[in-house]
Symmetry: C2
Subunit: 154 residues, 2 copies
DNA sequence: CTAATTCGTCATCATCATGGTTACGGATTG
DNA sequence: CAATCCGTAACCATGATGATGACGAATTAG
């Protein structure tokens, strides 16, 4: 669904931007990162794990250890980060209709296909933005300034 | 966001497709709808509430009451359903960085703007599909047949 | 009028995803 | 050896999501 109460992507973007910016190449501890992101250090490490496996960051234990970028900030698209953290998780949120119902099967097939189309569209947008863009403020702005639509209570 | 364990959109699409299809104009009870969608009747009514307020469906109590479409299936885009149920909920999932951190503020602003861009992209895709398309199988298929990407354990 | 049906809605509960917290082992530095 | 910091597991707290049960109001059948 529309997810999201999942902040891993945001935390990852934040950390990479932080590493690309305010550090002079020195490694940064997950403690320091946790203060800026406002999540706890363990979670920072959990989020960064997949990014390290993908070669985007390095980590070292020990006294002057911590995290540092392993690639240039301009070479990391947000789409890459998204895929590493969200994988192929559905964007739209599917249900499990009665398999004996013809309409149910068709709807489910359609929504599954549509979910991939939507995920591709999202990836296309995220492909346009790099960590460097976030750092320098070069992020695209919505075409429609703010959704003027009639609201909906929640 | 990366949501989604939220099936309201899927249920709504299912129900509207069901109403557009296998019924000859007769009202359908939420009991019958709940069997096909495989969720409980109360949930069906809760999902359909906003759609009724928007004029997409009608409901009537009583012996031969139930739900029926109030508009043509070809006139209902999935984007409309999405907006009615998900509103402006974030797609990407934001975090709450330390407001005292300059990087944190910039990241948060960027992600907020980017979230709207992504939501627009999603809406654009959903705009191309109507309930009638789902009923007849005319739903677009992904350009990349299936994400071939190297997996990521979960 | 009375009974049956069906929606509308509330209150409550179970489950699950997400993160927070604590803990401890291993690696690195000084 | 002591201090620092990652890696990871275990456990817990919170919140979102639906399921379930209940009851009133509206509508129709008899």
């Amino acid at each position: 669904m529309a997810r999201s109460t999942n902040t891993r992507f945001a935390v990852a973007v934040h950390v990479l931007t932080y590493l690309a910016g305010s550090t002079g190449g020195r490694p940064v501890s997950s403690d320091e990162l946790s203060e800026s992101t406002n999540v706890n250090p363990v979670h920072v490490r959990r989020v960064l794990g997949p990014l390290r496996e993908a070669g985007l960051v390095r980590s070292r234990p020990g006294v002057h250890g911590g995290w540092e970028l392993a690639v240039e900030a301009g070479a990391v698209t947000l789409a890459r980060i998204w895929r590493l953290l969200q994988g192929d998780d559905p964007m739209l949120g599917l249900h499990g209709p009665d398999p004996a119902c013809a309409v149910g099967r068709r709807v489910h097939e359609s929504l599954t296909a549509l979910d991939r189309v939507v995920a591709d569209a999202v990836a296309t947008e995220l492909e346009k933005v790099t960590v460097h863009d976030v750092l320098t403020g070069g992020v695209p702005t919505p075409r429609r300034p703010t959704r003027p639509s009639g609201g909906r209570a929640r």
